[in-house]
Symmetry: D2
Subunit: 346 residues, 4 copies
Amino acid sequence: MSGKMKAIVKHHRGYGAKLQLVDIPSINDHEVLIKVKATSICGTDVHIYKWDEWSASRVNPPYVFGHEFSGEVVEIGANVTNVNIGDSVSAETHLVCGKCSQCLTGKAHICKNTKIIGVDTQGCFAEYVAIPSANLWKNPKEMPYDVASIQEPMGNAVHTVLAGDVVGKTVAIIGCGPIGIMAVGVAKAAGAAQVIAFDVNEYRLDLAKQMGATSIVDSKTVDPLQIVQQLTEGNGVDVVCEMSGHPIAMNQGFKMVTNGGRVSILSLPVRPVEFDVTNDIVFKGITVQGITGRKMFETWQQVSGLIHSGQVDVKPIITHHFSLEEYEKGFDLMMDGNCGKVVLHP
Amino acid sequence: MSGKMKAIVKHHRGYGAKLQLVDIPSINDHEVLIKVKATSICGTDVHIYKWDEWSASRVNPPYVFGHEFSGEVVEIGANVTNVNIGDSVSAETHLVCGKCSQCLTGKAHICKNTKIIGVDTQGCFAEYVAIPSANLWKNPKEMPYDVASIQEPMGNAVHTVLAGDVVGKTVAIIGCGPIGIMAVGVAKAAGAAQVIAFDVNEYRLDLAKQMGATSIVDSKTVDPLQIVQQLTEGNGVDVVCEMSGHPIAMNQGFKMVTNGGRVSILSLPVRPVEFDVTNDIVFKGITVQGITGRKMFETWQQVSGLIHSGQVDVKPIITHHFSLEEYEKGFDLMMDGNCGKVVLHP
Amino acid sequence: MSGKMKAIVKHHRGYGAKLQLVDIPSINDHEVLIKVKATSICGTDVHIYKWDEWSASRVNPPYVFGHEFSGEVVEIGANVTNVNIGDSVSAETHLVCGKCSQCLTGKAHICKNTKIIGVDTQGCFAEYVAIPSANLWKNPKEMPYDVASIQEPMGNAVHTVLAGDVVGKTVAIIGCGPIGIMAVGVAKAAGAAQVIAFDVNEYRLDLAKQMGATSIVDSKTVDPLQIVQQLTEGNGVDVVCEMSGHPIAMNQGFKMVTNGGRVSILSLPVRPVEFDVTNDIVFKGITVQGITGRKMFETWQQVSGLIHSGQVDVKPIITHHFSLEEYEKGFDLMMDGNCGKVVLHP
Amino acid sequence: MSGKMKAIVKHHRGYGAKLQLVDIPSINDHEVLIKVKATSICGTDVHIYKWDEWSASRVNPPYVFGHEFSGEVVEIGANVTNVNIGDSVSAETHLVCGKCSQCLTGKAHICKNTKIIGVDTQGCFAEYVAIPSANLWKNPKEMPYDVASIQEPMGNAVHTVLAGDVVGKTVAIIGCGPIGIMAVGVAKAAGAAQVIAFDVNEYRLDLAKQMGATSIVDSKTVDPLQIVQQLTEGNGVDVVCEMSGHPIAMNQGFKMVTNGGRVSILSLPVRPVEFDVTNDIVFKGITVQGITGRKMFETWQQVSGLIHSGQVDVKPIITHHFSLEEYEKGFDLMMDGNCGKVVLHP
């Protein structure tokens, strides 16, 4: 396919982005071309939009950004055999090397040579996107495009919550951004007895409640450790999903977890964090996990299973819809914080 | 406490049982006396009632049988520190040695010297029962006694279903007796995408439906393997919970499970069963697990968490209530099969 | 590369094979051409050589068979990036689809669409072999070619033994063919306290002894269950690696394993096998695993690590070396049974 | 048994200890009296001897300290059934409550109400010690008493190293005190391909070498990260056992571990430690474990299996023997650091 398409282009090394007409990408033998139907805005996209230190060191404008999407396959490369034209697909956004020790042993999500779609390559904030066939995930026909679009971040939530068992347990979700809110729904669907959600934003705590949190805690006004003591009869929580990146909240997580518990960290604190290793890690005999990406493709299978079966209803999480042209409204909302997932429709 | 109490006594080496007045049990230093509030009938009790080959070889009438119960602590031995008078308790029914290799390594549920309450010792079909403190499980005050009474068999269901992961997966429950029906609820609560229940009894399949089965299959009229192919797009199920004990159903389980899947067997087939080891186990790379009892006390914690949180609503499972005196109605129902759990109230 | 090469061809649908001149294989963009330096004979090759029921139903003569090898890369396809000319390589022999549920979730070794090199495609009993780059395993330069050649079957041993923990445990290896003998060495290297090897062939039991078996048992003359009772103070073994395929030996494995133990089955019994499910699986609470192939590529990494570090010395296992031309001697030896691995050198 | 015995008494709230005559302990119904045959000095004992901040806040002189030992049972309480007079025993030193959530779910080693023999109760630096029967571990008759005495600290090493798989992997042991040296032997026996030992004390690095370290690194003179890069071809180590407690060494551990690796921390840093959570934990997708005590009694079973089978030869670790009377020499040596385990013989 040739011609032009509308795309949100990170056009310069500074604030913002521009809607522009660019070439429809051409595909090679192992790629497919996808007509984007829905594309959601990630926190990473906001960093790029705002142009912070991290983006300045990583991305190379001008280019099309965005990486969460769903769409319809419209063209397939000569060597592609896993999808057909007309299929509804989403994509794993980690482009991995397939050759390192991690890739060779079932841990491709932590490949040492990872590139990310829309960060290191052309992205999906556009009418079309070209994706290597190895990264495609086929969606059930019945799955709405907006829902399919948010499977990638939902994968982060699933990967974090299900990095250990939660059945009948008490799970703390620290930080109720979109992924935190999803994590609430996942923990509930996976059989947690209690899901305690922490944040300082009422809008987000309300979304957490809608997703099934058994308790929501505004950490500005209530002492997280005290409320956990009450809710767990002094035992502490079994699992902490750390999604705030805040050093104080993070340390609270290590203090509220019970002996032998699990702390799974998805957040990316901007500076080193100090821990009381002796009392909060060693004597407690806890397990701390760094969580990145999505297991390829166990996590995708779990996400798809949870959504398609209705075990997790993600509708409350998708709070706003805009056309691609209205992208600035979407970014403004994301920066404001009073939203769940914001979906753009090219 | 001294005096007499009403009890259902397996009075002779033959069919049936009798309601008799017997001595209230006395307790030793590490036991507690419990006023039984609810006691449910297990399939094992029916075997003893009917006096089959197994019971003839195992139990020694006359004695009080029954092992599933809940009640109130009314007296505690001198060395007991884990419960107080007035507490609501249930009990793990495996009396284990604490000295064998299994007991010493966290596998007391498969202790080689296990004795069973109500089988090898005096049971709970009575107004009072004496239980070693190490076997007690403390119930939340708010948990109704009938619900608390069925936690022991629910533990079998939880142990079987949760012997591996089920989130987002397809789970087959083969055999919808009371434990099978509970297993349906547990699989659903733990995040299974599909729960397919198999039986030949419509009443029980209907209960499975109420507990959340996404598909119910009458194996008399529908080919289990064919329907699984349809429901899983040819992939097969991820997990089989075998609770039928029937050699044909069991082999169907091994055929319907997908490569790399899990077959967890709780049932006790009366005769050896023949398997196609090469094709159904080795080439498929599956895992087969024998499941017995409840992990002490991980399983109890999971059961309690699932029930107390409302993740599993066991009300539909408890289909009949009788007074202790009406025990014959209870046993008749159990032998008839058109029931879930039958609870007696002393 | 073009021209002719020597190869052992399964030339007809009957007994035997012929050394013939055939075309050197041409490679496509994702394949490499390898000069074979060492190629070992597998039990599967013997089945094909003898032309039994299984081979008659599976392979299509005339073709070059053989699948265990090591060699030097002499030509690489346009898309190949993981090896270079001159590299020493071996190959995973399972050709997998990459698209099924198993392949997508880290279980490619049980891909439902598996083809096998030298069974379903042209093999390595030849001077050259063409292999897809995705199946290559790069060997350390220092690893001798004969040693590198037997990594594939060693992978079966590693996959079986290490399908669970063995440190400080008692491991039974039932059946001391070449893979059984390797399993002895692997169990020992991985920290087993006792490794008890069972067979009926003295030559092989002697090899098992050389590989570190703490006890060898001739099942013809000594009762396996009795000796296990003695060696384990009545406890039974913790792990059984079933590599005999014999129904009686297999049932002995299920009887000698302790409660909560593991039975990992690599063998392929030719007929269904009957088990006492109730007493030998359920009441014991054991885990039974079907083992096939090698985890891609966790198992290869373990094999390489164990051999390269000297933790397992495989030299005693390679009992015979022949030129490719002497293949009939090799097959005769394999049929006779008094050998470990037999390696051919093209 | 009544009468007096020799014991090393922490006699005052200050430096040192005194050999005194004290009453032989009397036992209750669930305890046994043991004639101590060998008792080794732990780092904890040195803290108490030196009277640091921690000991001042924890222990109550005057009392008999010491907790690592082996001995012969000479008297048993009325309710004791797991050992007989004449048995050789050692003891788990954690006295646990048996009632908390951790104790009830197979994690008694992190019981929230743990007391420690010789710290919170009378210890074993004496001719006799009284131990609750639940804490006893029966030794094989053939095991020498000095070897049996060091099983407790060896359990720490085993617990740390075997908190995950090491077969065919590269393991870093950071800190070669006695437990670090044991960890080297355990990693080697459990199949590690490389064991890299780090310390700044040559005597201890030499012991590490004797125990099987494939590389020893003096962190004073060689850059740990650089040498790891070389030894692992840039991949990093798979497993870090942190036993130094030093913040710099600890951070080096987090930097040298490969993506998806494991860091198991047994050490007790005296102050909070700062980590680069984003780069060293989250992006790497590693697992960090706090390790305390020994799993009761899985770890003991592993220790016993490894020693009794000869898989780990602990002889090089026991560098010094003294009579009980010579305790001051033992403590001086321990403070000096040029020793492995120091064993006292009452």
